[in-house]
């Protein structure tokens, strides 16, 4: 909770509950920098950046879902708690 006025770059953003939204800008910026050195024709940059951003975002969501299912449902079956 902020008791003082927010100072950009000096104080952290209040995103404790919305941290997962940052996946999209992170994916976008990584894709932009990576594809900037990969594409042959810079006219194709925006298209390839959008495609890679979607791939990375969906990939991370799927990995998160896979880990959730493994820990919540599969792990108790594989290694049940000793009673």
């Amino acid at each position: 909770m902020f008791t003082l006025a927010y100072r950009p770059f000096l104080d952290p953003l209040p995103l404790q509950d919305l941290w997962f939204v940052l996946l999209i800008p992170v994916s976008l910026l990584v894709s932009l920098a990576y594809k900037a050195v990969r594409v042959q024709d810079m006219k194709q940059l925006h298209r390839q950046v959008i495609a890679m951003t979607i791939q990375v975002t969906l990939g991370m969501v799927l990995l998160g879902a896979l880990v959730f299912v493994t820990i919540t449902y599969l792990l108790p079956i594989i290694a049940p708690k000793p009673s």
Binding site: P8, F9, P14, L22, L29, A36, M42
Partner: protein, 189 residues
């Protein structure tokens, strides 16, 4: 599609420029739009990390392993870290640098902690701190790829499968050879 980049080999000036600032290496090689995209991507990650986690996300003393990745952004990262250590942290009773507590300020003349003032910066904790450090660190790691590409450029493949491109080249060579042969045969008879 334009032909593959033939400007390959070692470019020491571009390598040096790329180490100084993200995108400067490609600018030296005359690739302005590529340099701008690289600069926006890398600096966006670095400054985005600072925005999310505050300047506390760039700390060579308290988060050294993360700073190893962030340092790859170049002198900008070292400058931000220097400012953080020397202008925003306070000196405690033992003469050691630390972040000011919420109820402390910083004496600008001595750098010592003063009770009752406003802290020069807030410490970030939890997810925002992790994500801030991660974003800035990712900027550094991506910049390493950019530095290598600026200093040691190679033919760009555009991410297309190699066999497909090779197939296209082979196909065009075979067609050209066939046409030439046919034309030679026609001219000879």
């Amino acid at each position: 599609m334009p032909p593959p980049n033939d400007d390959v080999g070692f470019h020491p000036a571009a390598l040096l420029a790329a180490c100084v600032f993200p995108g400067a290496g490609h600018l030296v090689r005359g690739e302005k739009s590529r340099a701008a995209a690289v600069c926006v991507g890398v600096m966006g990650l670095f400054l985005g990390g600072m925005l999310v986690g505050g300047i506390d996300a760039i700390d060579s003393k308290e988060d050294r392993p993360w700073f190893y990745a962030q340092a790859l952004v170049g002198p900008v990262a070292f400058g931000v870290d220097w400012y953080h250590q020397n202008k925003l942290k306070v000196i405690d009773e033992n003469g050691k640098l630390r972040s000011a507590n919420p109820d402390e300020g910083r004496d600008p003349a001595t750098g010592k902690a003063v009770k009752g003032g406003t802290p020069p910066k807030s410490m970030s904790v939890g997810r925002v701190n992790e994500l801030g450090m991660l974003m800035a660190g990712l900027g550094g790691m991506v910049n390493l790829i950019v530095i290598l590409d600026a200093g040691f450029p190679s033919k760009r493949t555009d991410g297309a499968p190699a066999n497909k491109k090779t197939g296209n080249v082979l196909e065009s060579v075979v067609i050209e050879a066939a046409v030439n042969t046919a034309m030679a045969g026609k001219g000879g008879t």
